[in-house]
Structure formats: structure tokens, C-alpha cells
Symmetry: C2
Subunit: 220 residues, 2 copies
């Protein structure tokens, strides 16, 4: 059985390697986990011994099949607990991350299946991210960054890439929720900021950074 630390490393590497499974640098991992690069060097060496990652000195780290399986399982647990916290315990979606960060390490396969059932087999978490199934497969769905849309296009908010408290509070402040509609009204190329209309009512302008972190879907 893995330690929580091992699970955290695998999850971080999964997240950082992205859909193309790029090799991940030591520094990137250390930043993601708020540790020092030297600690990461040590640790990935140990993970490599356990055959959870492929590691070549100075050349980055990728997950092995086994490592990815574990990472996806941890992500599944994290996202199911987030659904529980919001749907059942009525937490705001800006408060759940740290708690799910702990709950995801609870060891009991039966627990997570029963939780899944109790929640009605949800497909996505409160941030709109898809929940891997038992075997580590994602259901598919075309997801765009808001800044990839054209002027005049309309979409629905299905999630965010950044989940700092700050950012989520900002979204709350402008009353932007999951399922809100967003129409691209104008685009200013000098700073890549983008003018939008929310729920057919409020017009406002997002910086490129904000637009990059809003995940939308063109179809409901």
C-alpha cells in the first residue's frame, strides 16, 4: 500500500505531464508540492525503484502504467469526495479542496464504491472536472479554455483550471457559477483581454489569465 506522500507525488506528476504524457521536471514537481527540488530528486529515485515512475537523471520523470493507475485512482477519490462535500454537506466549492486533499488518502476500496453509489455515480466534480471510473478511464467531453472561443460564440462554464481560494472567490463575487452561460462579445488583442456577457445580463471584461482558467463547453 502506498503512503499519502507517494500518492501526492504520483498525482502531481500526472497533473504536470498533461494529456501528451510529457516528462516532468524536478523543479515543476517541487513547486507543485511545495517542497525543495532536492527532496523531489530523492523521492523520484525511490518511486523509480518501486516502478511507479520512469526516471532518468537530469531528464525528467514520467509515470509507469502502474503509477498512472494509482494516480487516476487518487484523482477519482478526490473528485468523488468533492461531490460529497458540495452535494451532501453543502460546502461552497471554494472550501472543499483542502478537505478532499485529505480524504483522498483514505484506504478502503469498498468505501469509494459505496460513496460513488451514494452520490448517484456522478460524471464530474463541482469544478466540472470529469471523474475517472473504477478502471481509470475518463468519460469524454469536448472542453475548451474560454480564450479559445471566437467573438460571438456562446458557451457554458463547466469548470476551472485554477482552484485557489482567491480565484474561486472572485468568481463567486461576479456571480459566475457552474452552468452559467458566457458569450464572447469582444476581444482586445493588445492585452488578450476578452469582453463577455454572463447569463445574457452582465457584461464585463476578463484578463487573458482569467480566460485561460475558465473551462467551457459549447454544448450543454
Amino acid at each position: 500500500m502506498q503512503s499519502s506522500t507517494t500518492e501526492d507525488y504520483l498525482k502531481a506528476i500526472f497533473k504536470l505531464s498533461g494529456p501528451l504524457k510529457n516528462g516532468v521536471s524536478t523543479n515543476a514537481i517541487s513547486e507543485e508540492l511545495s517542497t525543495k527540488a532536492s527532496s523531489v530528486s530523492d523521492m523520484v529515485k525511490k518511486l523509480a525503484e518501486k516502478e511507479l515512475v520512469n526516471y532518468v537523471k537530469y531528464q525528467g520523470t514520467t509515470l509507469t502504467e502502474e503509477g498512472e493507475k494509482i494516480a487516476l485512482h487518487v484523482i477519482r477519490k478526490h473528485r468523488l469526495w468533492e461531490v460529497f462535500l458540495v452535494d451532501k454537506l453543502k460546502f461552497g466549492w471554494d472550501e472543499i479542496h483542502e478537505i478532499a486533499e485529505q480524504l483522498e488518502h483514505i484506504k478502503s476500496p469498498k468505501l469509494i464504491d459505496k460513496l460513488d453509489e451514494h452520490l448517484g455515480f456522478p460524471k464530474s466534480d463541482p469544478h466540472g472536472d470529469l471523474i475517472p471510473d473504477k478502471n481509470g478511464n475518463f468519460p469524454e467531453l469536448k472542453k475548451f479554455k474560454l480564450n479559445k472561443l471566437e467573438i460571438g460564440e456562446k458557451a457554458i462554464l463547466i469548470g476551472v483550471s485554477e482552484d485557489s481560494k482567491e480565484f474561486l472567490r472572485y468568481l463567486d463575487g461576479i456571480n459566475l457559477k457552474l452552468g452559467s452561460s458566457i458569450e464572447v462579445v469582444d476581444f482586445f488583442s493588445f492585452d488578450k483581454s476578452i469582453k463577455v456577457k454572463i447569463n445574457n445580463e452582465t457584461e464585463l471584461t476578463f484578463s487573458d489569465l482569467v480566460a485561460q482558467n475558465l473551462n467551457v463547453s459549447k454544448e450543454k
Copy 2:
């Protein structure tokens, strides 16, 4: 913030010191936690430095007020999670202990209050043990060991003292559940075994050891 290990030690000491707050021996703790006495010696010394226990070499350990507060809080969390596992996730009461053992260490005061509310502010856990409130106080209730009843008396099962899987499976096997009625039919002083009638139907005989571990209440 306490480590899980610290919380486990405080919980063990609380359990072992009993209602009279007796000093607890190093050996007793080591047995309860499945560690060696030498580890316990080390650890209680550290807990004493943090003023969570009173420890005098060779003379046993008791909880300080602060230590007891933490222990009661952990017990509260453990028991609330047990209610969740049985009521909401439909676990059998013989499978929940190990899972609750992990869940009790999740850190988030808000979580446990919301869970309490979600569960409808239960007074006792699935073993019939009372759940301390936020401030660490127990609601009161007269609870007896089954072997303290007289012939002819009738009572209701409200909990068990022993929660090994084995014991709980045995109870399942004879269809004895929380809330079942138990009538004392006869008592055999030569081995202290006790003949009972369960739910006004089945008659069977309990050894003294079993009877000692069944907690009953005379009133519903």
C-alpha cells in the same frame, strides 16, 4: 495541530483510564496500540512535554485537560463517521471500525459540524456508544452490562464493548442487532453463563464473556 499518532495515543489513554480517570500503564497502552512498551515510554515523554498528558516515570499516565479535550474530539469524529458509514453508505456495523479509524484524523472543524448536521445530530453511534458534543460532553443514559441484570428482566441492546470483527460477526450470526430486546431467562452460577430470549423468539445461552460485552438499557 496534532499528528494522527498523537491522536491515537490520546484516544487510547482516554479509553484505558476509564470513567475514574485512573493512571494508565505503559504496557496497557502498548497493547492497545500494538506497539512496544519502549515506543510508548518515548512517546508519552513527548506528549508530556506538549502538556497533553501527566506522566511520572514508572507510575503511569493520565490525560491533562487539553489532552482529554483532544481525545474526546477524536472520539466524536470517529463515532460520527461510523454513523455516516452505516446510515448513509449502508455498511454493515462489522466493517466500519477500520475505516472510521482513518476518517477520524481528517482535520477540518467545519467538516465535522456539517457532517453532524447532515446526519441529523445523532446521539449515539452504530455500536450504541454515545457521541460527545462539540464541547466534549456526553449526553447521559443508564447503560448496563447484560451480566448485571436479574432473571426475568428485559432490556434493549444499545451497544457492545468489544468490537472485534469476530465478535460482531457472531452477533450478526445470531441475528442480534441494536435495538433487539433481550430477556434474561436463567442464570447458571457454576460458569456464570446466562440463558436469554431474543426478540421474544429465540432462546440461547451466552457465556459470561459475551454477556459482559453486551451493553443494554432497561428503558428504550
